[in-house]
């Protein structure tokens, strides 16, 4: 089991390294090597580490443990084919974790990152609509049932492409350097991560790696269905490269514009799901 966690964290970090590389190449820069994020995680884990005087020690450390724990649980939920409701509950718990990171250190940069994390909760609303649309077709929220449905009827990506786009947008909201990455934008230094350094930052790297792996793997399982594991890894990489293209050519939106666009997408999705509900027998 721990081998799955180590693999997911390492592969997720590799994907995040590839993300930086692709963005850099599109912007005519050489960019870092693709394994840079793995090196970062190792580097941070070797650094001197302490807790800032202004921090709430328990929250400051505890939130790192909780962050790694919830994404470890999410990985097991996806691998076991359990309910996507649990997965998306964990996704929302991550919002609490981001908020905790920001508020625990006593730094205004971290605090602003935490506050923006609350604002960007708008990105979770398309997620609920995604769940509703999937249930309309499959009649179940168990991942193994959704995969089985696609085995008979074909990929949900082709059956309900707008729903896949909504979840794609949700994953895009979680990608660094993207149009919706307002929680860690540069005017806030590193946003909610600013005051977590050394070993604590290495913990954040593990969270980011595992989260990236889980979200992309869940996307493949929910919208493409049962594929061999190696094929899932290739598809995940292709999806990530497409996300990197979007991030590379799109400026970061202001917090209010980010929320407005996510709200508009939610509205469109609600109309679409309402239409599906109306026409489906």
């Amino acid at each position: 089991m721990i081998e799955y966690l180590v693999f997911a964290a390492a592969f997720g970090l590799l994907l995040l390294g590839l993300h930086r590389k692709v963005i850099a190449r599109i912007q005519m820069r050489p960019g870092p090597p693709v394994w840079q994020e793995i090196l970062h995680a190792l580097k941070f884990s070797f650094k001197s580490t302490w807790i800032p005087k202004t921090a709430s020690s328990t929250l400051y450390v505890g939130v790192v443990l909780v962050g790694i724990g919830i994404w470890s649980a999410a990985l097991f939920v996806v691998l076991a084919g359990e309910s996507i409701l649990i997965l998306f509950a964990i996704y929302m718990l991550h919002k609490v974790v981001e908020h905790g990171f920001g508020l625990s250190s006593g730094s205004p940069y971290g605090k602003f990152g935490g506050v923006r994390s609350v604002i960007s909760a708008a990105s979770e609303i398309p997620l609920f609509v995604t769940i509703a649309a999937i249930y309309l077709f499959t009649g179940s929220l168990l991942l193994r049932d959704i995969v089985a449905y696609q085995g008979v009827h074909g990929p949900l990506l082709l059956i309900v492409p707008p729903v896949a786009i909504a979840m794609y947008l949700v994953i895009l909201s979680k990608m660094p350097y993207g149009p919706f990455s307002i929680v860690e934008s540069k005017e806030l230094v590193s946003g909610y991560k600013t005051e977590h350094f050394g070993v604590w930052r290495a913990g954040i790297s593990v969270i980011d790696g595992t989260k990236t792996f889980v979200l992309l793997y869940a996307f493949v399982a929910i919208f493409i269905g049962a594929v061999p594991f190696w094929a899932a890894l290739i598809i995940m990489t292709l999806i990530l490269v497409s996300l990197s293209f979007v991030c590379a050519v799109t400026p970061m939106l202001s917090p209010f514009d980010s929320v407005t666009i996510q709200g508009l997408v939610t509205g469109l999705m609600l109309v679409y799901v309402g239409y599906l509900w109306w026409v489906m027998p």
């Binding site: 089991m1 721990i2 966690l5 941070f44 884990s45 070797f46 650094k47 001197s48 580490t49 302490w50 807790i51 800032p52 005087k53 202004t54 450390v61 790192v64 443990l65 909780v66 962050g67 790694i68 724990g69 470890s72 649980a73 097991f76 076991a80 250190s105 006593g106 730094s107 205004p108 940069y109 971290g110 600013t194 005051e195 050394g198 070993v199 604590w200 290495a202 913990g203 593990v206």
Partner: protein
Amino acid sequence: MKKTTVTSGLAASVIAIAAAWGLLAIGLIPLIAAEAVTVIAFPVLVLFLGLWWRAPGGEEDIPFIGY
């Protein structure tokens, strides 16, 4: 944190994960119990491993809190 405390925490997390894996392998606990132990012990393992091999030094400081 003292080195002995960190070593104890690291050892406890390794033992918990190894025990969960071993008990699962011989069928004494169900998969979900082994996963629950791993979900709790893995974050502890990550942080305590880092605290165990991190560079020494450093003091509490006050982060930059604005102009």
